[in-house]
Amino acid sequence: MNLLNIVVALPAIGFLVTLMVPRDKPQAVRVIALMFSFLTFFASLGLAIGFRSDAPGAQFATDVIWIPSPEIHYHVGIDGLSLWLVLLSTLLTPICVLISWRFIEKRVKEFYAFLLLLSFGLVGVFVSLDLFLFYAFWELSLVPMYFLIGIWGHERRVYAAVKFFLYTMAGSVLMLAAIIYLYNRASTFNYTAILEMLASGKLSLTNGEEMLLFLAFFIAFAIKVPLFPLHTWLPDAHVEAPSAGSVMLASVMLKMGTYGMVRYCLPMFGGAAERCAPWIIVLAIIGIIYGALVALVQPNMKRLVAYSSVTHLGFVVLGIFTFTQLGLDGAVYQMLNHGISTGALFVLVGYLYERRHSLEIADYGGIASAAPWLSTVFLITTLASMGLPMLNNFVGEYLVLQGSAQANFSWSVVASIGVILSACYMLWLYQRVFYGATPELVAGHVFDLKPREWAAIMPLIALMVWMGVYTSTFLPAISRTNASILDFRKMNIRIQVKNPPISPYLSVSEVRHAR
């Protein structure tokens, strides 16, 4: 059987198995959930190993009929764009199981069932090559998240869950309408087939049609990202969600939006995308600055991190709509980076909450003396989030800014201010929480990391360094796919890539290679 199908199926099987465990055996549920999420992750590692980064198009593809009429296929496959996002989802699921181990005491069975269902939906979103299948997974992922926030969240959980649901649904409905409209025109939901029809001219959209369809997709994605000014559901959802919910939401769910933009908006409606790009970029840049400024004054840690997400995702959107190779590569890389570093931030804030039972920054201080390793790990994550070189975010931010400089230098001039501000809000947060004298309530409750907690955070820290120092593991696959996306509608400006990249720039006259 195709490995990709195994990766897709395992969380679903885990979900069903979890449901069958008796309610009074919470420990069994935890172990089963951990097992299935680990299995999924190992299976997905096989995808990364077997993936050929020099080949264009979808790999590990399967295409069978799911519903005969209207013809809906189970059509899945991965390329350089989806590969790492799948791995991100499968990596974070076991981490979420681990961090919820002691924290979730109530309705344990349902919690892990929803977590696995969420994982199923997320992987599905990234691998679907059938528009309807994509939509089905898109909506499917919404439901478990709604319940994760609504049941296991903090005080205002219901408000946050409903707000999250309504915001996202508003967009999804538009997208569904667009999908159905496309089906009426093309008589297929098959993504690759639609692309071919568009390219060959068999299916041609008028400017008006293209624009409306683009907007329908784009608004659905923009809400998910979230792009300013559609972001206000995010802080509420994050603050109220349990740690695992926040991690999955920030690390993976937000990427559904940016992934959708790259996967659907750019190749299918390239003309409209280009016409809207200046407006979208303005919103993205406003988001970068605005998110950072609002993050600066947040008294609540999770809210602060949530607004920092608005900033980071602003960079991603900026990169996408520069239509440059570097910008797009940086944007995709930044999706992964944000998943790793913001995921880690939410994991760590969760650790703090488990100890001190507060998210208010003012309740903390002096943790550096009380829990030095926790402080060290938090510091590394903080630095990654600020975009310090040799850690992951720097590469993504740099490529995005470089791409936008190639498209329009003044965009970079404004967007780079976000990099200054990120240092302000992150360092100020770190100072208030970790430095200074230790209040009694902190000293009595905040202890250092336990082995289970180490196990959850260590992979993320290792990835921050790996992705920051040795990008060749990840970037070539991304770059290859992006090049073909840009080539598809001849949107690539300035730097065009026909062949897989091999150091053409080594022009120093007397370079001698040491090894």
């Binding site: 409905v173 400024l293 100072q431 120093v508």
Partner: protein, 610 residues
């Protein structure tokens, strides 16, 4: 030549001490940390001795490859790098040894040495980098270590505040640096020095000037030049060896290094050079006047560092790149010595930093006194000491460039001599004013580095850096003018003499002078209120505006208000719609499909109308 060993050795030291340090004894920590840096020095020495004439670089792996754009992890070494390598590893080794004595009674011993080694790693990466992006790795990395070490005593609010301030002000500079890199790639298609520099002449002057100016912004941040100079004096919150290593001898000179490294860009951007010279000259004078009135011994030397960095910028700005680097080298000797000596004084007095509570220490800590005296005469430009040679070469270049710059620089040289000797006299002469504390001389681990640096401060001028760099930089012709040299030396002696009169012969004179100057004195004493001005016009508006306007009004009021408003108005409708909300996912899906069909029809109609 395995250049990677030079930075990686300290990195290994950092990893060992950082991970295991808590369980290691202080002796082992010393061996690891000091050993790593000394080995690194030895390897650097081997590289410098065998330095080939042709540019030499090593490629390790591709760091970033995106499309046809490539940034490698490349190290390169040439004569300029060689100078920097010697200064960083040499002075770095001495300061590591000194720290073993200075920090002996402090908590967090392993942490201190781990950070110090990490700093060495980044600083060496900075000087060895073969492209701008890798240089930026070191550039940001040293900023990180500076942040960590300024805030080393993290229980003190003032220390962590100073750390944040240093990092954020540096980030403002880095903003310029990043934009410069972006523009370099747009213009040259690469960040490799070997590609960019040869092509500089063929690019339009406007673009090259813009790049050079943006790099200058970065350099001003790192090297604490006006208006980004505010962080360095606060950085003195860190332990004194840190002030010596990072905030005097090495990191803060990175801006000068970058400007010198980018000289092929700067010589095609005369406007940027002119600005560098003016900023440097202004900062030199501005900071020197502040140093005149400070009472904290480290603050005096901190402003002195800002001022001396200004001289280096002046040199570079006048096109005398090798003079700037020359002064960088000699300054590393005498300023590291000034700080280490000050550290020895502070150590002797159990933490006292206020010079008003010192005095008469000459008899108690003679080694510290005599070594510090060597540094003092060097910075004052007393003939044949190291500072004399390097400062004069800058001043002569300034005269060649524009004579008025020489005169301002010479007056500043007088001020320099005055404030340094004021500090010397307040500390070591007269009667001890510190109550019943008994000052004691520092251990050998501290005094031996002091003595070595004292020798270098006196004789370091004979290490002829300009000749070594002669072929590297474009040379500017200017004649040796004995009169100009004599005048600047005289200014130095005048400064020393006035200090002697005011602080040794007639100690009351300084107070009455301060009183008679009134508001001018207060202005200088309060550092021209630059910090307060920044606080009032930048920090406060930004924070309050974000809180009051963006968060409360735009986010919570405008956007969420709209959303919730829609929500509230929907409640009436919702009472009816509640019927649909059965909790059954399938029925939701049905409604979603239903709604979409309506939209599809609407879209179809739009299509038909068109």
């Amino acid at each position: 030549m395995q250049l990677w060993l030079i930075p990686v050795l300290p990195l290994a030291g950092f990893l060992i001490n950082g991970v295991l340090g808590r369980r290691l004894s202080r002796a082992v920590i010393n061996i690891v940390a000091i050993g790593a840096v000394v080995l690194s020095f030895a390897w650097a020495l081997k590289v410098v001795v065998a330095l080939p004439e042709a540019p030499y670089s090593e490629h390790y792996f591709n760091w970033i490859v995106a499309g046809s754009f490539r940034v490698g992890c490349d190290f390169a070494v040439d004569r300029l790098t060689a100078v920097m390598l010697m200064v960083v590893t040499g002075v770095g080794s001495l300061i590591h040894v000194y720290s073993a004595g200075y920090m002996a009674h402090e908590g967090g011993y392993y942490r201190f040495f781990a950070y110090l080694n990490l700093f060495m790693f980044f600083m060496l990466t900075l000087v060895l980098a073969g492209n701008y992006l890798l240089l930026f790795v070191g550039w940001e990395g040293v900023g990180l270590c500076s942040y960590l070490l300024i805030g080393f005593w993290f229980l003190k609010k003032s220390a962590t505040n100073a750390g944040n301030k240093a990092f954020i002000v540096n980030r403002i500079g880095d903003y310029g640096f990043s934009l410069a890199m972006l523009l370099i790639v747009v213009t040259f298609g690469s960040l490799d020095f070997g590609t960019v520099f040869p092509a500089a002449a063929s690019k339009p002057e406007g673009i090259v000037t813009l790049i050079a100016l943006l790099l200058l912004v970065g350099a001003c941040g790192k090297s604490a030049q006006f208006p980004l100079s505010v962080w360095l004096p606060d950085a003195m919150e860190g332990p004194t060896p840190v002030s010596a290593l990072i905030h005097a001898a090495t990191m803060v000179t990175a801006g000068v290094y970058v400007a010198a490294r980018s000289f092929p860009l700067y010589i095609h951007a005369p406007a940027a050079l002119e600005l560098a010279a003016r900023i440097g000259l202004f900062t030199a004078t501005f900071a020197a006047t502040i140093a005149l009135a400070q009472n904290d011994i480290k603050k005096v030397f901190a402003y002195s560092t800002v001022s001396q960095l200004g001289y280096m910028f002046l040199g570079v700005g006048c096109g005398a790149f090798s003079s700037g680097i020359y002064h960088l080298v000699t300054h590393a000797f005498f300023k590291a010595l000034l700080f280490l000596g000050a550290g020895s004084v502070i150590h002797a007095l159990g933490g006292e930093q206020d010079m008003r509570n010192m005095g008469g220490l000459r008899k108690h800590i003679p080694i510290t006194f005599w070594t510090l005296m060597c540094a003092a005469v060097a910075i004052s430009g007393v003939p044949f000491t190291s500072g004399f040679f390097s400062k004069d070469s800058i001043l002569l270049a300034a005269h060649h460039h524009q004579p008025w710059m020489y005169w301002v620089g010479t007056i500043t040289a007088g001020l320099t001599a005055f404030y340094v000797f004021r500090a010397m006299f307040m500390t070591f002469f007269g009667e001890y004013r510190g109550g019943d504390h008994h000052p004691y001389e520092a251990p050998k681990a501290m005094t031996i580095p002091l003595m070595i640096l004292a020798l270098l401060s006196l004789g370091g001028g004979y290490i002829n850096v300009p000749t070594w760099l002669g072929k590297f930089f474009p040379t500017i012709e200017h004649s040796e003018d004995f009169a100009l040299v004599a005048i600047s030396v005289a200014a130095g002696f005048a400064g020393i003499g006035i200090a002697y009169v005011m602080y040794v012969m007639k100690p009351g004179l300084s107070d009455s002078a301060a009183r008679s100057l009134g508001w001018i004195y207060r202005l200088v004493y309060n550092k021209y209120y630059v910090d307060q001005i920044y606080e009032a016009i930048i920090v406060k508006p930004l924070v309050n505006g974000s809180r009051a306007l963006l968060w409360r009004v735009v986010d919570a009021g405008l956007i969420d208000g709209t959303v919730n408003g829609i929500g509230t108005r929907s409640v009436g409708l919702g009472g009816w719609l509640k019927l649909f909300q059965s909790g059954n996912i399938r029925s939701y899906a049905t409604w979603v499909v239903f709604g979409s069909v309506i939209l599809v029809i609407a879209l179809g109609l739009v299509g038909a109308i068109r």
